[in-house]
Symmetry: C2
């Protein structure tokens, strides 16, 4: 698996984690967006791993989901040894 | 403390954590940059919290430091209730 696939996969795993946490909290996309400075349609893209988001968005998602930022990265991920 | 201070503080805490991990591994900026696709002068800026980095850079830093991405976010951080 080459470098870029790895990065895209990382982005997708992060997105899946966001969705998992949102569902756990029984929040719709709109409800989550109202808890942080993010648009619900953007959050939908983040959950599909379509956006290479920035730290400021990680911050907003943590705030909206009321979890520490490290929880957003709590998923299994193996770096492929090149 | 207003919203933006919070975000800048978050960025700085993240940067401090990167530096801490790099020192723990006894790596210079150049040595770390050789382990991932990042320029050493950029890494120096990240460590000072000067850049709102993207997930792809989080990925590279984790690879270079050989730690799971969630370790990069393992620092104390309190969201200020607005």
């Amino acid at each position: 698996m080459n470098e870029n696939t790895n990065k895209v996969q990382f982005q997708q795993l992060f997105g899946t984690k966001i969705k998992e946490l949102r569902k756990l909290k029984k929040l719709s996309l709109r409800q989550l967006s109202q808890r942080c400075n993010l648009d619900y349609s953007d959050i939908a893209k983040y959950e599909k791993g379509e956006v290479n988001i920035q730290l400021s968005t990680v911050f907003e998602l943590s705030k909206g989901l009321e979890v520490h930022p490290k929880v957003l990265f709590d998923f299994d991920f193996l770096f492929n040894a090149d």
